[in-house]
Amino acid sequence: MASAVSPTSLESAPRLMRLVAECSRSRARAGELRLPHGPVATPVFMPVGTQATMKGITAEQLDALGCRICLGNTYHLGLRPGPELIQKAHGLHGFMNWPHNLLTDSGGFQMVSLVSLSEVTEEGVRFRSPYDGEETLLSPEKSVEIQNALGSDIIMQLDDVVSSTVTGPRVEEAMYRSIRWLDRCIAAHQRPDKQNLFAIIQGGLDADLRATCLEEMTKRDVPGFAIGGLSGGESKGQFWRMVALSTSRLPKDKPRYLMGVGYATDLVVCVALGCDMFDCVFPTRTARFGSALVPTGNLQLKKKQYEKDFQPIDSNCACPTCQKHSRAFLHALLHSDNTAALHHLTVHNIAYQLQLMSAVRASIVEKRFPNFVRDFMGTMYGDPTLCPTWATEALASVGITLS
């Protein structure tokens, strides 16, 4: 295998991902991750359970939906309840009683989302806690230390995250710093046999910076790579080009995790571009606002038009919500103060995402992915020609035409 230059690389690390099928036209792949808490079929959508809980639904419900990997967040859990307590509870798995896999983000994204509370230096990110005003320094070493205590199956390097709308020297600085922080994370990682440390490719929307980052980071023999710094405020045209550039330079035999992507169209396109793993708060968050995801988009169930709609959200959906309840009932419940309404929608939206990924995977395995994409776009946009330009272009770039 390709040699790793860094003295701390893991040359003999077994491959995390087994490729099961590849699309002969596009870059889509179907595979299987062999993780400590069980296998995970890819492409996979990972729901986000930031604070050791999927908001409003039990571990049993999440398991019953077929979820085999979900996210926790180091920044939040590091503050509350803290790594020492979680360690006492037998790690994050023990604390939340989740039998399957967990992926923890490093806390890097909070640097962007909570930018008013943070300050970045070479040392790390200095945060001021919104809860008690206390200052904490999240360094690469500290982030890995917390994630080691959490015991998640996949851990993320601490990266220097810059909003994709930022331009200029800060982007380059962040890219190079992320490489240095990757090396510090690798060095600090105490449990490489139990926890898989992923690198995160940065470089903003600059092709050269991205390419440099890719070249450097792929020299480190980490079990997987994430594509970071996207899914922010950038244009979709720039977005897909950076994803495509990244997948073209990432090794084929390692998983590609595109962070923060979760809209159905984006998922399908980015699978075509060669991504394997995705996470996003969107499906679960939009559920709590009364929005149900369907193949044609979404239903804002609080609206009056659903008052007397006695069909389920989606008659083809196998989730418990669709099996038992109508849009009309959910509409009425959403207008009450019973939180059960939110949970019904959360269950459905997670089911929607997982069912979508399942269907994508089956089409890849059965060698009909391009047709699947055409059908999907047709359903979503009414007509393939009405598909957003960026998606049409992105798909065309990997050999899938829509008309």
């Binding site: 039990t58 049993e60 307590l85 109508s326 009932f329 009425a332 207008h335 939180t339 059960a340």
Partner: protein, 415 residues
């Protein structure tokens, strides 16, 4: 519908209601509680999470206050509220009001009663009320009634009398309207006993209501703060003495374990289960013991737990009266307290609910501190399970003539 009493011990009735419901093929043991719902759903719980709970009541309580505003939708739906809310197999009882949120007083007239939904006031004459019940098609429903004689501090005799007169008039109107509707004939009307705190009016209400062909009786106006029930208990005995033995007696607004037992001793059969919901909303978990006959082996293992809790309660009674959490009872623990941060025990050792089998006090504490929705879900699952277990123990105690032991155990734990 047939209520057969297995036995009556010291005023407590143990029995079975058979041929229950619109289909006539359900059975329910008494004493029992009804499943509390908000807008047709158990609070916080979906069908999946609800059905992990053991000993779910055979009958769920719906509130007209949460459903009346949807009656046009239900009229279009045509298939009844049970199917609409996804509980087609459950027995359903429709009460007027939500026991948790008292409605503003002063809106009952000779011709109408109002309920308060989230969309505002819904005023109902007898015909509108029955039209709404026709769209709901519950198995049982509380008849339109005037419950405001017990609202103010001192009931005047005049007001008490009016509450009885009006309620009887509403009842007669509703019975007449029921005869005219094939759909409504499948549902059972529950007559409401009013009369405020005036003995004479209470007796009159009981006797007159009992003359009508109602399926059961709702004892209204005994709720309030804990002090008011004590003064009303003597009224309660007198009222139930006037009611036929073979029809169920429901009471509204009474749900605390100690008060439940007091009412059972005075001939009440059915209760609402909103108390576990209130406990959930304040971030607390029911921990009181109802194990009146502990198995000797388990006693050694678990007694320490129970005794610890009781001891703690005695010690901190003084603290609690000065804390701002005045509504909390001694039947529960407050999971927000810092001492639970590293407590890896389940909420209640030996509890078979989903929460106790899968999670720790420390986890619930974390969920409450971080304001996570799952806290409500898990606490509701535990609190309902614990409460339904309590009712099961009441029936078991009655069967084996040990209710006094159970009562003593509960009273020891009451603040």
């Amino acid at each position: 519908m047939k209520l057969s009493l297995t036995k009556v011990v010291d005023g407590c009735r143990l029995g079975k209601i058979k041929n229950l419901g619109k289909t006539g093929d359900h059975t329910m043991d008494i004493p029992a509680c009804l499943l509390y719902t908000k807008t047709g759903s158990a609070p916080h719980l979906t069908h999946q999470t609800l059905h992990t709970i053991h000993r779910l009541p055979a009958m769920a309580q719906l509130t007209l206050s949460s459903l009346a505003e949807h009656h046009e939708i239900l009229a279009d739906y045509k298939e009844g509220i049970g199917k609409f809310i996804g509980m087609p197999e459950s027995l359903l009882y429709c009460s007027l009001h939500d026991p948790v949120s008292p409605c503003p007083a002063g809106y009952v007239t000779n011709k109408s009663v109002s309920v308060w939904g989230l969309g505002g006031r819904v005023e109902m004459t007898a015909s509108k009320f029955m039209a709404i019940q026709q769209t709901l098609q519950p198995d049982w429903f509380q008849c339109l009634s005037d419950g405001e004689a017990s609202c103010e501090e001192a009931t005047s005799i005049k007001r008490a009398r009016k509450s009885v007169d009006r309620s009887l008039l509403f009842l007669d109107n509703c019975l007449r309207l029921q005869k005219e509707s094939e759909v409504l004939q499948k549902s059972t009307i529950i007559g409401v006993i009013e009369g405020g705190d005036v003995m004479e009016e209470r007796l009159r209400s009981a006797r007159e209501t009992a003359k009508r062909p109602v399926g059961g009786f709702l004892l209204d106006g005994f709720q309030g703060n804990p002090a008011t029930l004590e003064t009303r208990l003597y009224l309660l005995s007198s009222v139930t003495a006037e009611l036929p033995e073979d029809k169920p007696r429901l009471i509204c607004g009474i749900s605390r374990p100690d008060e439940v037992l007091e009412c059972i001793e005075r001939g009440v059969d059915l209760f609402e289960s909103f108390f576990p919901y209130q406990v959930t909303e304040r971030g607390c978990a029911l921990t009181f013991s109802f194990d009146y006959q502990p198995n000797p082996e388990e006693t050694l293992l678990q007694q320490n737990g129970t005794q610890e809790e009781i001891k703690y309660v005695d010690q901190t009674k003084k603290i609690k009266t000065t804390s701002c959490n005045q509504e909390m009872t001694s039947f529960e623990i407050n999971l927000k307290e810092k001492k639970y941060q590293e407590d890896f025990d389940p909420l209640v050792r030996g509890c078979s609910c989903y929460c106790c089998k899968n999670h720790t006090r420390a986890y619930i504490h974390h969920l409450l501190v971080t304001n996570e929705l799952l806290a409500g879900v898990l606490l509701m699952m535990h609190n309902f399970e614990h409460y339904f277990g309590f009712f099961h123990s009441i029936r078991e105690a009655l069967k084996s003539d040990r209710l006094s032991q159970l009562k003593e155990l509960i009273c020891r734990q009451a603040s």
